[in-house]
């Protein structure tokens, strides 16, 4: 029983990581139909932010707290730059953005190698986050995982709040629903796009900070996670935050359960089969926006 519970928590924590990674994508891909393959490298930028900050701030805990807003800003700024320089020219060509941002990803990876060196770099985690929490019933859960879970849920809540209540959120949704109409009614769609991209990429930066607690910090860290993150968004349904949340946790739990009983490689093949089967049932993802358009 303890084993099932602890494995369930493992699944939830894998889901939380997936969610954190996919959240920003869900915004840029879902709301703007931009497939940003460099999202993984924005995550990398967030992780390197922690590394750089720790050269200045010696306290592991303080540097982590300070890193969250800074990583958000750094990755967000990179996103805005990307939007302004390239993606702006590619609206309506989602497949082309995929390839172009893949190129950007390659360049960012190599830049990281040239700046920070090819080997992974080391960051320190506060002692609080390297230990574990003992729950009644013999259940032991890693405190870093709890932190990530809380961080992911906070990010979802904050994003929902922004989209639902602020004027920026309303403008984002207006542009999503009808770009042309929004432009005609005097909305500066370019500005809205850049802000959307800023938030989406900034969330990647936050994810990067969180990943320093559980994984390697190196030039290749982005590529390893990006494919799964896209699957989460696709299966969740475009432009649907709730879809992303549900699917991230569902995939995490599925992955952990299958992995426990089989092997990692069999688990990834099974997860893929489940996804194809799922898309047979719901080709547009878990939740869909209905429109009458002919596309």
């Amino acid at each position: 029983m303890t084993l099932v519970l602890s494995q369930l928590f493992t699944g939830i924590s894998i889901g939380a990581v997936l969610l954190l990674i996919a959240l920003g994508l869900s915004l840029t891909f879902g709301q703007m139909n931009v497939i940003n393959m460099a999202h993984g490298e924005f995550i990398m930028a967030g992780a390197y932010t922690v590394y750089v900050l720790q050269q200045v701030i010696t306290s592991a805990g303080a540097s982590l707290i300070v890193a969250l807003p800074i990583a958000f800003a750094v990755a967000g700024a990179m996103g805005v730059l990307l939007e302004f320089l390239l993606i702006r020219r590619l609206y309506g060509r989602p497949l082309d953005t995929l390839l172009v941002t893949w190129g950007v990803a390659l360049i960012l990876q190599q830049a990281a190698r040239d700046i920070f060196g090819a080997p992974n770099v080391q960051t320190r985690a506060p002692d609080l986050l390297t230990g574990s929490i003992h729950l009644p019933g013999g259940l032991v859960i890693a405190s870093s995982r709890v932190f990530i879970l809380v961080l992911a849920l906070t990010a979802v809540a904050a994003l929902t709040l922004v989209l639902k209540t602020t004027s920026l959120g309303r403008r984002i949704r207006a542009v999503v629903q009808n770009r042309d109409l929004a432009a005609v009614s005097g909305l500066a769609t370019g500005r809205v796009d850049r802000l959307t991209f800023f938030i989406g990429s900034g969330l990647a930066g936050i994810a990067g900070v969180a990943l320093t607690l559980i994984g390697p910090i190196g030039p290749a860290m982005g590529t390893n996670i990006i494919v799964n993150a896209f699957l989460v968004v696709v299966v969740g349904g475009i432009g649907q935050l709730k879809g992303t949340v549900i699917v991230a946790f569902a995939l995490g739990i599925l992955q952990s359960m299958v992995e426990y009983t089989t092997t990692v490689s069999v688990a990834s093949v099974i997860v893929f089969i489940v996804i194809v089967a799922f898309l047979q049932w719901r080709p547009q993802g878990l939740f869909t926006l209905r429109t009458r358009s002919l596309a």
Partner: protein, 360 residues
Amino acid sequence: MTAVASPPVAPPIKPSRKRTGWKTAAGFASGAVALFALAPAALDDFRLGLLAKYLCLAIIAVGIGLAWGRGGMLTLGQGVFFGLGGYAMAMHLKLADAGAGNLPDFMQLYGQLDALPWWWRPFANPVFALVATVALPMLVALLLGQLIFRRRVRGAYFAILSQALAAAMAIFLVGQQGTTGGTNGLTDIQGFFGYDLNDPVNRKMIYFIIAGALLLMLAVAWQLMRSRYGELLVAVRDAEERVRFLGYDPANVKLVAYVVAAGMAGLAGALFVPAVGIISPALVGVVPSIEFVVGVAVGGRASLIGPALGAVAVAWARTALSERVPSAWTYFEGLLFILPIVFLPGGLASLPRLLRKARK
């Protein structure tokens, strides 16, 4: 188009059409001269071997050009079909090297198997293996396409799904070390249907076969592109739903291009094995699959010859640059993904037209 001012009543054949036909034939003939006479004369054995490898990539590119350029299906999973073709060929060659009744070397080392797994056995037959190199990828593409296109999974969804397929396939191959060679893949291939691959003359023969296959695949793609089907494919690419209202099922239209592209990738994989002597999961996964696409984008996705030329050019640039400055190659490759797509979506193939327009 020269025949804008055509007479009001439609003539049977556009006058320009016959010329295009001959022009294409002349293009093919000069391509043949370049591949069969010039290249072998100008390049030493090593460079010719490299060219053979590039031409394999060009064969994949021809298929991607058809599926993506003409059909709008950005397939980021061609590595899967390349791998299927390559493994089918390599399995046969390994069995032939081992000799009848013997296990391939790696199986004895890592598999601890007493007998050949059942799914290896048919590949001992050369005819089966040869057919399988193309038929197996096509069959898998057919099944997968049936599922994906029928349910109208398309655009970005299709691209990401095809990419995930490549990732899953690579991980799966790696996991079955005893029977697939794992990360190592299938290596150390000595013979090719009885011919010794260590012999430079035979290696030249492999090059000629690959060059011939490329021309053949270009001819296939050419015929498909100029046929009514080719027009229909473009129609589906640009307005899939509209085509439905004309009584077509777009899923079938896309399926044909997807399956043909898969077959071409399989053929390329099969020819890659004797040319390079190795097939491994590293050639199957996400990264190689997306790299197959970059040459197509550079050359011109919707043109016939653009993808093939682009693939060869990019592969050549990779070799040339990485021999000099290794880290520069990654930057260069990144730029290859960015600059042509953003600023020259038609690829190099569209340059002549753009220049002509600019001059006017």
